[in-house]
Structure formats: C-alpha cells, structure tokens
C-alpha cells in the first residue's frame, strides 16, 4: 500500500470541499464523489477515506458512502453476480417468536429500492459477523426512525436464518474500516460545529463586546478544540500503511471510542455558547448534535466499544499496547 503526499492530500481535500459545497445528498452525492475519480484516489491511498468522511460530516451530508467502504473490504468474500447491496449496521438482536431463529435489528443508511442483497454487519461482539441475505429478509422497516431528522436512515429488522455468515479477518477489517470512516465523519461534524460556534461568538455582542472575548466562553471553545485534536491524532494512529489486521482493528476501535466521546464533549459546549439558538430548529447546531449522536451508535457506541477494549487488556494485555510508538 502507498500513501499520498501532503500536497496531493490537500488538493483532494479541496476537491471534496467543492463537491460537498454543492449540497448534494444520497445517490447524487455518491455519483459526484465517484466522478471526481474517487476510486483512483483510494487505490493510491486507502486512508483518503478519512478526508471523504470528514468532509461529509462537516457538510452534514447524508449518503450511503459508508456502505461502499464496508462492501469494498468484504468484496472478495461476497457472492458474485449481485449488482446492488446495502449494509445493515446491526444494533442488537430481537426475539423472532420462534426458537432458534435469530433476527437482527440495525440501521440502513438509504432505501432498499433495487437492492438485491443485504449484508447485516454485526459488530456488537468482539469477533464480528457479516450475514449476507436477500433483500426480502428485511421483515420490518421503519423509515426516519433514527434520531437524526436530516437523514434518510431507517431502522430495519432482518431475518438472517439461512443467510451466509462471514467471519474472520476480512470481516474484522471491514468493521475496522467502517469504524475509521464513522470516526472521521464524527470529527468532521465536531470541527464544523466548533467553527460555527467560533463564528457565532465572534460576531455576536453582549455587554458591548463579542462573546468570544469573554474568558468563560473562550475556555469552552478551547476544551472543544483539545478534544477534537485528541480524537484526530487517535484516528491517524489507526491509519498506518501496511498495518496488520488485528492491531489496526484495535486501533480503529479506540479511534471510534474517542470520536464518540468527543462528539459528546464538543457538542455540549458548542450548543452552550450558542445560547438558546443552539436548541432551535432554525440554527443548524441541532443537526450536528443529532447526527453526532446517531453516528456514535453505528458499529458500536463509545460505551460498548470501551468495554470491549478493556476486556482485552484486562485479560492480560498491556494498555500501552494499544498504540505502539
């Protein structure tokens, strides 16, 4: 694997910004991203996904681009001859009524129009499983049930009995790639929310001076900044080229935990400094909050993943093994 130099990455970042500035969503957004030669960029540097998802988060755009990341990782293991797949990000299992039959509940990022196959990715356990099932295995679907009003997400229930279960390193790697993408999207959301908070507090005056000149306000903004920096560096540590699957999976899980923690830290502060504006539908701030919280639930919330991390090192591994220098 290779990696692009800083100058090329900056150019990629700028092109992504231009694409997302068009305000596109869903399939149209996906087409625009592909039209900029995204596959070639990824071939040159797989970690470029970080820039894509940061940009998506910053723009609060909604798409199923995450499916592409997961499916690309699984590509070698999935049956050929299926032109269209959708990933279901498993949240938990639900009772099916008949013993021995398992049903999984999860999030779909877009509708099932023209979708032939669903891959139910269950990362709720340390050794993840991907169930490949026909689209008709979705037995229940509630559109827009997610917390995030601006998204096209749906919560679905899939009957995976009889489906093909994929396990092992390939699935572990797919989950890890997905977690890095979601972490990047959350970081994009946090940075964008912080930018908005800085702009607002710099423009709005109270007591005859900008809000951002008050120390109490500045300190909240500083705390948000430090949290984002820590999340960013944790994500970068999960992206070394040629990292073996297991260390990269561990590092990706840590990055997802930090991103999930960070959205809670950052958005609490950015909402606070916007005053009452922060809780209205007129200001975009609420969209960062709901999107951040919704993304935290995908591929394991920060609480669930923190428990998984601890289970590993408490079993005798060292904490510092999580990130080698």
């Amino acid at each position: 694997m290779t990696s692009l130099d800083a100058e090329t990455l900056a150019a990629v970042e700028q092109s992504l910004e231009d694409v997302f500035a068009q305000g596109l969503h869903g399939a149209l957004l996906r087409e625009s991203v592909h039209a900029m030669g995204w596959q070639e960029i990824l071939d040159a540097d797989p970690s470029a996904n970080r820039l894509l998802f940061q940009a998506q988060g910053a723009a609060l755009a909604c798409s199923a681009l995450l499916d592409d990341v997961v499916l690309a990782s699984l590509a070698g293991e999935l049956a050929e001859g299926c032109s269209s797949r959708r990933v279901m990000y498993v949240l938990d299992s639900v009772p099916s009524g008949s013993p021995g039959r398992s049903r999984l509940r999860g999030v779909l990022l877009a509708d099932l129009d023209d979708v032939m196959e669903v891959v139910a990715l269950d990362a709720t356990r340390p050794d993840p499983v991907a169930w490949s099932v026909p689209a008709r295995s979705i037995v229940d679907l509630v559109p827009g049930a997610a917390l995030d009003r601006g998204s096209e997400w749906a919560v679905a229930v899939a009957d995976v009995a009889g489906g093909r279960a994929l396990t092992g390193d390939v699935v572990t790697a797919a989950v890890a790639a997905g977690r890095r993408a979601v972490a990047a999207e959350i970081i994009g959301i946090c940075q964008s929310a912080l930018d908005m908070a800085i702009a607002h507090t710099s423009a709005r005056q109270q007591y005859g001076r900008p809000l951002a000149s008050f120390q109490s306000v500045r300190h909240l903004l500083a705390e948000a900044h430090t949290a984002i920096e820590a999340a960013r560096v944790t994500l970068l540590a999960a992206e070394g080229p040629d990292m073996p699957v297991l260390p990269q999976a561990e590092a990706s899980r840590v990055a997802k935990v930090r991103a999930g923690d960070t959205q809670a830290i950052v958005l609490r502060r950015t909402v606070q400094v916007l005053g009452a504006m922060g809780m209205t539908l007129e200001s975009d701030m609420h969209r960062f909050v709901t999107r951040g919280a919704a993304l935290d639930t995908l591929l394991g919330s920060h609480g669930e993943l923190a428990e998984q991390i601890a289970n590993e090192f408490i079993a005798g591994r060292e904490i510092t093994r999580l990130m080698k220098l």
């Binding site: 710099s202 000149s213 120390q215 500045r218 949290a227 920096e229 944790t234």
Partner: protein, 367 residues
C-alpha cells in the same frame, strides 16, 4: 523518525533496567521520587541529556527516543525527580542560550546526574500573572545580586542549583527587562522554607534570596529577554509524558483489580481511560516529532497538558469506583491516597489549566 524496531528495542532495554535496578515505585515520581542513586544509574545508561546534540556532549538521540525512555520510567513509578527538570528544560535552555562557560560547566554535570535543579518562576504575588514578578537582580561589580522570593519551588530543599527569573530593569512593558539566571543553592544568602502539601509530604518550598551574589557568566541568554526565552521552555516543560503518566501506577493496579473481580461497568470505565491514554500518547508523539524538527509547539504542549492532567484526575476518580466494586487492600488504599495529591498539583504546576485554555483559545479566536 527512528525505526519502530529500534524504538521497541530501546523500550525493552529500559524495562530490563527497571527490573534490575532497585527502587520504590510511587505515583508522580518525577516530583515525589527523589533518589540520587537511581538518577546516577539512569545517567550511567546515557538517558539523561540523551536528546541533546552530540556537539554539546549529549546523546544525539531524538526526542521520540527520549519519549520512549521517559514513558517507561514514569509507567513504573521510578524515582526520577533528581534529574527531571535539568534533563527536560534546563539542559536544552543552556544549549540554546547559554554562554560557553555555562555549557562547559553544566551540561556534563547534568549528563552525569549530579546537578539537581529547582525552577524559580512563581512568586507569592506573581502566579499566573508571572510577568509581574518582583525578584530583582541588581548589577554589582563582577555580576549581579538577587533579592526577592520564589514559591512552589519543587526540590529547592535538595537542589544543587536554581534557575531564577528576575527583573534586571524596568522595561516599557512588564514582559521586558526580565532575565534568567543559574544560581548555586549553597549560597548563604538563600533560605529555603518547606511547604507541606495536602498529603503531608514536602516536595515544594518557598525560597528567599537576600542579596545573593551571582557571577556575570551565570546570566542565561540575553539580559532583558528573559520573558521571551522562558516562553520557549514551555513546549519542553508542558509537553512531556509526565503530564499524563503521573497516576499510571494506580491505573495499572486498577486493571489488575478488574481482572480479579470482573464487572462490566468497571471494564467500560477503564476502556474509556485506555482510549484517552492512546490519544494522549499520540499528541505526545506529535510533540516529540515537532521538537525533533526544531519547533517549539507551545499550543500543542498546552493541549497535552490540559488533557493529560484531566486524565490523571479521572484515573483517581475512577479508582474510587473500582475500589468500591472490586475491593481494595491496604497497599491499594495507600497507593490511592498518594495518587490523590497528584491531580490538584497537576492542574496548577507548569501553568494552571485556565492558562492552558487561554493559550489555546488565543490561537482559536480572532477576537
């Protein structure tokens, strides 16, 4: 950046050293672990001044390599107080700013682990507003005479030397007219008054200077430029692994307890701490690489210090919960009692958390 394998080898070498060298592990061992014999043993391995350039008698290693060594020493709770300040900031300052005589006298002394430094910055009336300090250095034939007092001076009671920031002239602003000095602690004009901290231990002091004569060649850098020079230390002072590993011996113990008495909530809490630690180590690595590139990233150092000291505080906080759930022995409780003194000190020393937030916000907000 050095090859990963050579860093891993170095890490193993430090671990072997720690296994074969006797010491009593403590939390906050860079402040509370004064052991000249241990420091001599560290010096014998070449790990004091290891990142200084070879042209100045240093080890010529990188700051990334130094980070590996300091992480391992602090993780183990090894007593490194006797050389910590000299290695971390006094040596680099003397290399950057010192005259030839200062360099020839002090760099070998520090390398051998024989110079114990205290840092005289804060004063009773000048804490966060450091530039309003009142200690004066008056010109006298052959040098200077220092009068005034410093407070919260760690290790002053065991130090051989002190770094002192003093006013040498009245500048146009309070940031001008300050100068840095290296002072011998055995001067009869110096009095050290102990201050006990909340744990009942003594590690900091108040230091009084009564017309203490200081030779002219003990002026560090340029007269009147002390403020700007001192600000350049800050990346060295605030950005090290001591800002997140001071309570590590306690954290390691919590992991063992959680292994003995498994509890899901305990696991989740420890997992979150581990994830935060990973981020802190990443920031610390970034900082070491910046130092290797010749930069002094003051904002990044402030970020690391702010997040690191909060992390250390949360380790202590979570320990109360883990002890409650998993049970604790008498030595466990002793370990916690001593660790509890770390967070309040951590949030103040080296610049209060509020100052860190202000440093970060200044770069963030145009206002």
């Amino acid at each position: 950046m050095p090859e990963r394998t050579s860093l891993n080898d170095l890490r193993r070498e430090v671990r072997r050293f720690l296994e074969t060298t006797p010491f009593v592990p403590v939390c906050d061992s860079w402040m509370r672990g004064f052991d000249p014999a241990f420091t001599k043993a560290v010096a014998a391995r070449g790990w004091i001044g290891m990142a200084w350039p070879e042209s100045h008698g240093g080890g010529g290693r990188s700051y990334v390599e130094r980070l590996v060594v300091t992480e391992e020493l602090l993780r183990a709770g090894a007593p490194v107080t006797a050389h910590w300040t000299a290695d971390r900031q006094i040596g680099p300052s003397i290399i950057r700013l010192g005259n030839t005589k200062l360099q020839e006298e002090f760099l070998p002394l520090i390398r051998r682990g024989e110079a114990v430094f205290s840092v005289g910055l804060s004063e009773p009336d000048a804490g966060s507003d450091l530039a309003s300090l009142r200690t004066r250095a008056e010109p006298v034939p052959g040098g200077w005479a220092i009068s005034g007092s410093k407070i919260w001076t760690t290790s002053a009671h065991v130090a051989t030397h002190a770094y002192v920031l003093a006013r040498t002239s009245k500048g146009a602003s309070k940031h001008e007219g300050l100068s840095e000095f290296i002072v011998d602690m055995d001067n009869p004009g110096i009095t050290v008054r102990p201050i006990k901290d909340l744990s009942g231990e003594r590690h900091f002091n108040e230091v009084f200077f009564d017309s203490v004569p200081v030779p002219g060649d003990r002026l560090l850098g340029i007269e009147g430029q002390g403020w700007r020079q001192a600000m350049e230390h800050l990346a060295f002072e605030r950005g090290g692994s001591e800002r997140y590993l001071s309570t590590y011996p306690l954290l390691a113990r919590l992991v063992k307890l959680a292994h003995e008495v498994p509890d899901r909530a305990v696991h989740e809490r420890l997992g979150r701490l581990a994830a935060r630690l990973t981020g802190l180590r990443g920031l610390s690595l970034d900082l070491a690489q910046a130092l290797d590139a010749g930069q002094a990233p003051v904002r990044l150092a402030a970020t690391l210090k702010l997040l690191g000291t909060e992390f250390e505080a949360d380790v202590v906080e979570e320990a109360l919960y883990v002890y409650d759930v998993c049970g604790a022995t008498r030595p466990d409780r002793r370990l916690l009692r001593r660790a509890m003194a770390v967070p309040p000190a951590g949030r103040i020393r080296g610049g209060a958390s509020e100052i860190m937030r202000s440093v970060i916000a200044r770069a963030e907000c145009a206002t």
